[in-house]
């Protein structure tokens, strides 16, 4: 075989190896989705969204009589909704203002400190954050497990992401934008609020959506703060259910274990949809 043919063959082989090995990365996600759909799709029906989680007794009775398990995960869905919304309400303003500070006064001592702390926060294990929320909120504020404590823990997790994306979105804006606003006689605060933030809105929004999709599935901090509940609770100072908590409860119960597939499928789909929306919005706004 001539050297040219040999080299062409080698190149082809290399190409196939790369394709092959990189497609290995598709296997985990693919098999997860496949497995979840296979096992969980039959459980998803109207009552899945409407009824609260069944108790162990109901499940045992259903299993022994060969019926499908009644109930749904409505308490988890509402719980997740409430906790994540509250976490957003706490984290978004702090995160955005933190990001503005870092973007505008990049070199000051305060900014270096904020940057350092934010990066640290990013690395703290989620269960430790749960413990901190336990110590701050569960014990003193709500004297007991509560949805509020859960939101605080999740808010701390969302903060670094929001701060960083806000800072980067603002830094991407041309300086002449700020100068143009100031040159019209606007005050500094007006410039930030009415020109800079709206102009950076796509980046900000994307960051927020990504932060939300990140914490939606967090389990460990909620174990120590929200605890879980079998009813739909709208009182934030009381314990609350959440989808990941339910998955954990189902897993631990021999009669409810079959429910883990549908709940996991639902959670996964939710996170996926949030991610896709975030990407679409960022692409649409990026045309400018």
């Amino acid at each position: 075989m001539t050297t040219i043919k040999y080299r062409l063959l080698k190149d082809r082989l290399f190409f196939y190896i790369i394709c092959g090995i990189s497609s290995l990365t598709l296997i985990p996600l693919g098999s997860i989705i496949w497995e979840l759909i296979r096992k969980g799709i039959k459980q998803i029906n109207f009552s899945f969204f409407m009824e609260v989680a069944p108790s162990t007794l109901d499940a045992m009775l259903a299993k022994t009589s060969g019926e499908s398990i009644p109930g749904g995960i409505a308490n988890g869905i509402i719980g997740t909704l409430i906790i994540v919304t509250m976490a957003s309400i706490i984290a978004i303003p702090i995160g955005i203002f933190g990001g503005i500070q870092l973007a505008e006064n990049s070199k000051s001592k305060l900014s270096s400190l904020v940057r350092f702390v934010t990066e640290l926060l990013n690395g703290i294990p989620s269960i430790v954050l749960g413990m901190i929320a336990y110590a701050w909120i569960v014990k003193p504020v709500t004297t007991g497990y509560s949805a509020l404590a859960g939101s605080v823990a999740l808010a701390i997790m969302m903060l670094p992401l929001i701060v960083r994306t806000t800072e980067e979105s603002i830094k991407m804006l041309p300086t002449s934008l700020k100068e143009a606003a100031l040159a019209l006689g606007a005050s500094y605060s007006t410039t930030i609020i009415r020109v800079i933030l709206p102009s950076a809105m796509s980046g900000l929004f994307t960051g927020i959506l990504l932060a939300i999709s990140r914490v939606m599935g967090e389990t460990a901090p909620l174990l120590l703060t929200a605890l879980g509940s079998s009813v739909i609770s709208l009182d934030v100072s009381k314990p609350s259910s959440a989808i990941p908590l339910l998955i954990w409860e189902f897993y631990n119960d021999p009669y409810l274990i079959d429910m883990i597939w549908s709940s996991s499928l639902f959670l996964l789909m939710l996170i996926l949809i949030f991610n896709l929306i975030a990407k679409r919005i960022s692409k649409k706004w990026r045309i400018q």
Binding site: E179, A180, L184, T190, Q288
Partner: protein
């Protein structure tokens, strides 16, 4: 050179970025009302610094020190509120920068919006139409006033920025190389526009393009290393400059 009707007066102006290092040294000049004055010079000579000292853009940077006086119609600009100053002296920048989050309509009246000045809809409509007509943009955008400004071409965007500046009816228009980022046809349109606008406003334009200064300005300043080397009628300065350094610059002996 005799200025009969000065609207802007600069006296002993010095701008320094750090102790002892001056970007602009002892500039003295009077700018004639309803004229176009060009500021030229090689890179780093201080022309943009001088321009920005007029509308106090250097206030944003506490390490920059300004000495001297700048007055518009005898009002000392450094003794009144900087936001008021910036309404008296509007600025147009090198890169067209319409506010991306605002429509064309809102961009024109952005000066009023950002200053919290409330106007009736009729007043707003009138201002938008008048300013866009003054910059020859009305016919091109009158049917899409509520679209975002960034969908316009570079030349149109820059005219929008000019409309935005003149909406506040400033005494003086400061322009920092407004056509550097534009193609020759858009540049030509803006130069024609400036010649029209000078009937109502006084224009000071920084340019590194000598032909542009020659084409549109009545008087020209030549700056070198922070000094105002020569300030004279453009025709005279370009045919028979008084200072040797001006001669060297005009004949391309230093860029």
């Amino acid at each position: 050179m005799n200025i009969e009707n000065p609207v802007l007066e600069i006296k002993d102006l010095c701008v320094s970025y750090s102790e002892g290092k001056y970007a602009v040294k002892n500039v003295n000049a009077k700018v004639e009302k309803n004229s176009i004055t060009a500021i030229m010079g090689p890179s780093g000579c201080g022309k943009s610094t001088l321009l920005r000292a007029i509308n106090r853009m250097h206030d944003l940077y506490p390490e920059i020190k300004i000495e001297g006086r700048v007055t518009i119609n005898d009002k000392n600009l450094y003794q009144i509120n900087p936001m008021r100053v910036r309404k008296m002296a509007g600025m147009v920048f090198q890169r067209p920068n319409p506010f991306p989050s605002m429509s064309i309509y809102d961009n024109v009246i952005a000066g009023y919006i950002l200053n919290g000045i409330k106007l009736k809809k009729k007043e707003k409509d009138e201002i938008v139409e008048r300013c866009l007509k003054n910059v020859s943009l009305w016919d091109e955008v009158k049917d899409s006033l509520h679209k975002k400004g960034i969908f316009l071409s570079g030349g149109q965007q820059q005219r929008l920025c000019i409309a935005r500046s003149i909406a506040l009816e400033p005494e003086i228009l400061l322009m920092d190389e407004p056509t550097s980022a534009l193609d020759p046809i858009a540049t030509g349109k803006i130069e024609d526009l400036l010649l029209e606008l000078k009937k109502k406003f006084t224009i000071v334009i920084v340019t590194h393009n000598m032909s542009q200064a020659a084409r549109i300005s009545d008087n020209s300043m030549f700056m070198y290393l922070g000094d105002l080397v020569e300030y004279d009628n453009t025709k005279k300065m370009f045919t028979n400059p008084s200072d040797k350094r001006t001669e060297q610059y005009l004949t391309g002996q230093f860029g």
